[in-house]
Symmetry: C2
Subunit: 398 residues, 2 copies
């Protein structure tokens, strides 16, 4: 498997486009389209928030059929808490895009991201649709990836290729994240494309597996949004049917690698984030406890501010582990930070503040927490909590 | 019932003392003692963190007997993650204090707060014990309350009196909080005293009831500490036996009022906090769902940063409610902020940003979230998340 360029259009059969339709006043791209030449197998993972944006409800219904031709995403407005009017807005825009693409409306999937509680400027968006569709091109993956960003600073793209069953298969994608990440994939959007051939039911299963070890293993602020969606489209253009032999395993690995890279880019670009922490929990009694513990540590504001300030206060890691509900004997707890043991047999080792500070003062800090209570393990990636996060979120929407 | 002065020594039979023993280098008071003239009924609520500080383990064991004469608390060092040595340290100090007080060691309760993973300077503390005990006085409640503070800016005291069964009964207390508040009473300490007469088993039940609607209903950063403890001592000096008639109801109300005031002082003094939000969830299907929903809203970093910046982004309230697991029909969701309806029938009302900003730009912001799914309700008090919180916690321990 090797990394390639091309993002969401790296796989054969896809084109993309991104323009400013006037939803954002900043004139940055705010309308993104990914379209396939033929109908694709399609699947998605959606937010589990009880309050769901209009496009989430529409896309869920359309995905029952397991087929789609295109994905339309706008940034700058979440189209959520907008009631029946918001549904009508989304449908009006959907109608206009489907008609310009000359595809049945039910084959268009929708997502929105941005401020909750505001209406979409439907007339503006509809006026922009011909321009959006006219600019569809395989080269336009980057501007399409730009058009889905909100407070993100950087475009997030990834793509890989691998020979499967004697032919080249590609998987690519784009994502947005920044704030409100985790648990369960909170405010993020991603579109993943592949030219492998497989039915929607299998694609759904593989996509969920890939999300479980990527987008569901990152934490920026522990909030969960109303709009999270990961779409996957499979064009079949490679001619490689993954139902044959062990090809599905190859494809899920590719999906995991692409989703994993996009997830990592999301944390790196977390609102105000200046560094990353990889939290490995080992020796847990069950996988569920391992993940619970990793999630609690990765989401703790005290751990995240400790990371921000390189404050030599590793006790916060133990406190978060102890608060997680995972069962372990505190007298056996062992913690390593940046490869150095800082807690052994439940006791903090006498490291100087200067030494501990050096362990934390690096762009990526690996933390291993061994509960010595079993064999299960889990990993989460998180970023630090900085004053910049607060500035961004106290000011957003102004 | 009326508010009175006197804090933890307002009830008859108690004296207090607070000095600097050299644990904190700042020379601020760091050692606090509350002592009763005679053995008291005693009860406590402890942290449920699996990692528990040495003093928590000692006090738990001693409280099996249901009796105590004194509570010793130090700030500046949590005596947690200190292993067998930390237990020995706590016992050495306990021995010295019990001996100076001329009480059996098992009648002394202990608590510590401060940095995790550091050892207590036992020799210094033991040297300070005669001075600490010599200064015990009914007037010294305020310096005792000062000596338990860490990053708190203000002393937290409360006391009430009421005539019960024809005689005056008093309940008073002191607390520390600031960071790491909630869920389940995370990093806070409190000592509650009363001159009512009741057995330890009843005191334990009433204390838990009072904590459930006070300390367990506040949220500063959602972290849970290794040292949380609320102690209650009942001296019986009023001569009012609360097992008679409906006196237990009167006492639990007094406990709730004192704990409620202390809890509120903790949130007001939350690390970096500049304002409060009262989150009322109404119309929930069950009490558990109501509390779950209130807790999720009160703990959401996005809600708390919105409050900090008075950012007119009330959709975040709906998103947090939807993420809580409480069952409701999003199309019936209703939200009021500062008395003004901002969401009706699941739809954000078209208020101008300036109007919404005014609703949030006040020292106390009441939020009512009606799920229209039942009759249960719950309340949480929270504070805003400011850049100051990050500065405090990124720098703590330096």
């Amino acid at each position: 498997m090797r990394w390639i360029k091309g993002g969401v259009t790296a796989a054969a059969g896809f084109a993309a486009s991104g323009i400013n339709a006037g939803i954002k006043t900043s004139r940055k791209p705010d309308l993104s389209l990914v379209a396939a030449r033929q109908p694709c197998s399609a699947a998605a993972v959606f937010t589990v928030n009880r309050v769901q944006a209009a496009p989430v409800r529409i896309s869920k219904a359309r995905l029952q059929a397991g087929a789609a031709r295109a994905v339309l995403i706008n940034s700058g407005c979440a189209n959520c808490l907008t009631g029946p009017a918001g549904l009508k807005d989304a449908l009006a825009i959907s109608r206009s895009v489907a008609s310009a693409l000359k595809i049945p409306e039910r084959q268009l999937l929708l997502a929105s991201t941005g401020i909750i509680g505001r209406r979409l400027p439907v007339a503006k968006v509809v006026r922009a649709v011909p321009r959006l569709v006219a600019r569809l091109h395989r080269q336009h993956h980057e501007v399409a990836a730009q058009a889905i960003l909100t407070t993100d600073l950087h475009v997030k793209e990834a793509a890989v290729e691998q020979v499967v069953g004697g032919r080249r298969v590609r998987v690519g994608g784009m994502a947005k994240g920044a704030g409100m990440i985790a648990p369960s994939m909170a405010t993020m959007l991603a579109v993943i494309t592949t030219d492998a051939a497989l039915p929607a039911s299998l694609l759904r299963r593989l996509l969920r597996q890939a999300c479980d070890v990527s987008f569901n293993r990152i934490s920026v602020d522990g909030d969960m949004s109303t709009n999270d969606t990961v779409f996957a489209l499979a064009s079949g253009h490679s001619g490689v049917d993954v139902r044959v032999g062990r090809r599905a395993e190859a494809l899920v690995t590719m999906l995991q690698v692409v989703c994993g890279r996009l997830a990592r880019l999301i944390v790196q670009d977390g609102e105000g984030a200046s560094k990353l922490m990889e939290v490995w929990v080992r020796g847990a009694g069950t996988e569920r406890e391992a993940l619970c513990c990793a999630r609690q540590v990765a989401s703790s504001p005290l751990v995240k501010t400790m990371l921000a300030g390189s404050a030599p206060n590793v006790g916060r890691l133990a406190a978060a582990a102890g608060a997680s509900g995972a069962r372990f004997d505190p007298a056996r707890l062992e913690i390593h930070v940046s490869g150095v043991r800082v807690v052994a047999r439940g006791t903090a080792l006498p490291l100087s503040a200067a030494v501990t500070r050096r362990l934390l003062d690096r762009p990526e800090v690996p933390v291993v927490i061994n509960l010595h209570a079993g064999r299960a393990e889990a990993r989460m990636t998180t970023c630090d909590l900085t004053a910049e996060y607060v500035h961004i979120n106290a000011g957003y929407a102004t």
